[in-house]
Every structure is written in C-alpha cells, then in structure tokens.
Symmetry: C3
Subunit: 210 residues, 3 copies
C-alpha cells in the first residue's frame, strides 16, 4: 500500500464520520445516516472521476465501501453521537477538516498522474475535497460548508497548487505530502477558530445567507 | 430485440407521455411540450452515461428519438390533454410510475453488464430512473417528484438491489425482470394511494416543503 | 490555425471579458475577478467534454488559459471597468452575445466531428455556449442569463440545428460559419434591444422571477 492509498483511507474515514455526525444531529434513522455517510465519503471522488471521464473507482473497487462501513461501526460502538452537543460540533469540524486536507491531496495527485496542467490539478483537488461535503450538506438541507467562510475552498486550491509545483520539481513524496496534509489541517482549524476569510467574496456570502 | 430493449422502449414512452401531460398542465406551447417530453424521456439515461464516461447513447442512436415523437403524436391524436383534470393527474402518476419501474431495471442492467459492485448497480438504477423526472420537474418549476414522499427513490434502490442479487445468482432473465417491473409499479402506485413513506428523511422533507 | 480554433479564441476572449465586467460590478477583489472570468470562459467547454466522456481539453492544453490571462490584462490596461455604468452594461451584453454565438458554433462542430445525431449536435451547441454564462451568473449570485428572456437559449439551439444541416449537405466551411456567427450575434442583440421572446415558456419565467 503506497502513501496515496493510505491518505485516501484517512479521508474516507473522516468524511464518513462527518456524515455520521450530521446524520445523527439531523435525527435521521439508520438508513438515512448510512446514506449520508456513504455519499459524503465517496461523493467527491465520484465527481472527480465523472469529470475526467473515468468509470467511478468506487463502482468497481470494494475498498472504500469496506472502510466506510467499518468507520460507521466504530463510530457507533464508541457511541460518538452520545457526546454533548459542543463536543459533537468540534468532532464534526475536525473530521471534516481531515477529509478536506486528505482528499485535496489525493485529487491533486490524480491530476498529476494524468499529466494535467495547473488548472486541471487544482480543479481536481477542489472537487475531490469539497464535493463530498457539498453532497452531504445538501442531503440534510444545510448551506453547503463551501459557501461559508473560513478559507474552506481556498485550502483545497492551495494544496492543489502546492502538489502541482512539487510535482514539477520532482519533490512529491510521502514526506512533503505529510507536511501539506498537516499544514492544511492546521490552517483550516485555525481559520475556523478565528474566522479568517478571503476579503473578495464577502458580499455574495451575505447575499446567500440572507 | 431482447427483453432489455423492450423494457427500455416502455420506459421511454412512459416518461415522454408524463412530460407531455406536465407540459400541457403548465400551458406550454408546442415547442415547450416537445422539449419537456424529450428531456424527461432521455434525461436519466444521459446522466447515467455521463457518470460511466460513455458517449450518451441517444447522441448516436435514433431509436429513442423516433419512439418519443411517435408517443407524442399518439398522445396528441388521442387528445390525452382534453381529459378532465382528475383523470389527467391519474394518467401522469401512472406514466411516471411505469417509467420509474422500467428505467430502474435498464439502469441496473447497464451496471451489471459493466461488472460494477452493488453500490455502482444501485446508483445507476437510481439516476437512470429518477434523473428524467428531476429534469422534467425542474424545467416546469415544480418540486422534483423525488423530494416528495411515497417511496419514489426507494423503489429505484430496491430494484437496483434486486437486479444485483439476481445477477449474482444467474437468475436475471425476462421472467424475473417482468416480476420486478410489475412489483415496482404496484408498490409505487400503492405507496402513492396510501401515502406510504420511509420514516427517516421526514424532517428534511418538511423543510423543503416549507 | 483553422477557422474553428479562431472562433474558439473569440469566444474565450468574449466570455473572459464578460466575467471580468461582472466581477467588477459585484466589487469582487482581484482573485475573485480572475476566478469568475476563468470559469466563465472555460465552463461551457468543460461541461461539454464531461458529457461526451472526454478529459476536459483545458486540463491539458494551455492555449485557453493564456488567452484568458491576456484578455484580463488587456481589459485591465484599457480600464474597462472605469467606464460609466450604462456603457459597462452595454459592453457586458455585447461580450456575452459574442461568446454565445462563437461557442454555440464550436460546440456544434464537436458534435459533428463525433458523428452525433441532431439531438447530440444541438445539445453540445447548447451546453458549450450557455454553460459558461450559467456558471458565471451562479458564482456572483445572479439569476442565470439563460432563465431570462430575449431568445438566449434559442439562439444556441438554432445554431446547433444550422450546423447539423450544413454538415449533412457538406456546406460547413469558414464562409457559412461566419454567416452563422454574425446572424446569431445580430439576432441576440436585436432580441435584447426589443425584448423578443418565445411565447411558450413565459409562465415559468414569471414564476422564476418571483
């Protein structure tokens, strides 16, 4: 198992758990929670595969499905949903941030492996990492996380740019990917904590919230 | 002509007629009615083909287009739209249910023919059968039928699961497909008549209706 | 460089400028303006490539990206955004109409080159030319231009039909394409000026505006 598989599994577990937590918060039944967790974890990768004209990997490979059901079973065995509301929200933000950091890297790597240009690599990093969260939030009727602030989409773009540049320099390896993963995770959590945001798109965000 | 072609034609006729009826109810002109009927009948299959990275079949094969225009001509010759409002609504629900049952089977069979896993087969059954209805309802500005209750999407999922299991057991043939088609049709009509619904997603449905 | 490349560049410049003008009107910052202009210019072609199961051309070819950045630089050097509000709106309508006319032709030609039937050629003409405008308008939270009146989508459909028929007759060449381009542009500007519209879809347009 190479590093890319390993980081893909981390992202899958994280998004499945984020879907599990949202499903419980919205008081869905078991089937509803499973559907939301499943589509949160595989949605971004499916959108990416559709864009590059490839049969979605999850349609033929069982690995992601097994990882998702094990994650859901573990979350249920640990009774994650029994924690207090505040702890639950913190766990959701953490899981979502881990998924964002991991899938932006796997998406960008798919772009590099197809020899795409910088626009292609960044686009795949973006859709792979934010696609699942958008699907999840739309399924439970929330404003998609990407339309909120806190640098959410910018982090995906930054990781896409970094992977592209590192690949050009032949510096893409487990060590640099680990650094990107941890930096993205830290940046997202700090942006959430102190509500950092890009200045430019402020006006529309207000429109959408209204 | 094998059984799969035959059931595909039934679904195409049914969705074209459902689009014809909606178009008249919304008082569209001739061009509007034709566009809505056309996209209702081919929308689900196009979405499926895009997902599996295949050139949409309807782009190169004339069969579906011929069937659709013959259906529209027959509906017009029979003056379907002249019936009373209550009969029209019953005809719409029946046509939509036939299309749902037929296209969930053809979608699932495409998945089986590509050797997809259970998630892939169910997903293709779902998008093939509900895609056209979603496109149709969005074109005339109605809440998509899938967001209403009455087990609509669940029937597509059930047919996807059944086709997957039957294919594993090598029991997929014209006889078992006929049984699935009639069961799905009956289940949908009974669910509509007595407003059955899944318990889990109730809360969001209310949000969306509000 | 053949005629098709040349008309593709015209469309790319036009949609990039339309995105630039919208971005400034919405008071986005530099990054926001660049993103809106970029996605306006490449969005329609990407949607078309996804539909036909082809790796989006812009992911591997730098030409469109270079053209877009040169257009943005020129628009900035000419201080387009400093004009009076009324002039800006006229410039936006003109740029959008040029992009519509150009991309409906390039989209239809892709369909012809794949030997698609009339439905396929028209669909690709439509999505290639209106896709970018829809993406642009959704990014800045406006009602997509296609949902407004003034024959917007109809012009894309007419160009698709014309290219299909000309290709059947082996009359598709730089001269006939130029005539289609100029006719479409003129028709769109006249429809905008005198608010022409198709009769059929009127009712829904009102619903959407409400």
């Amino acid at each position: 198992m190479n590093y890319s598989d390993y980081i893909h599994i981390i992202g899958t577990v994280a998004f499945a758990v984020s879907g599990y937590l949202v499903g419980f918060r919205k008081q869905l039944d078991v089937l509803g929670v499973v559907i939301v967790a499943l589509l949160s974890a595989v949605g971004g990768g499916m959108i990416r595969d559709v864009i590059i004209g490839r049969l979605p990997l999850v349609f033929t490979n069982h690995q992601a499905l097994v990882v998702i059901f094990l994650s859901l079973f573990a979350a249920w065995a640990l009774r994650l949903q029994r924690r207090r509301r505040k702890e639950l929200h913190a766990a959701f933000i953490l899981a979502d941030a881990i998924g964002l950091a991991a899938f932006s890297l796997t998406g960008a790597q798919v772009g590099v492996s197809l020899d795409l240009n910088i626009f292609g690599v960044v686009t795949l990093a973006f859709v792979t990492s934010v696609g699942g969260g958008i699907v999840r939030d739309m399924l439970v009727n929330e404003v998609p996380v990407i339309l909120r602030r806190d640098l959410y989409g910018s982090i995906a773009v930054l990781n896409g740019l970094a992977v592209y540049v590192l690949a050009q320099w032949h510096w893409l390896n487990a060590f640099t990917l680990n650094i990107l993963f941890l930096s993205a995770l830290l940046l997202r959590l700090m942006a959430f904590r102190w509500q950092w945001e890009l200045p430019g798109f402020q006006q529309q965000d207000n429109d959408q919230a209204a």
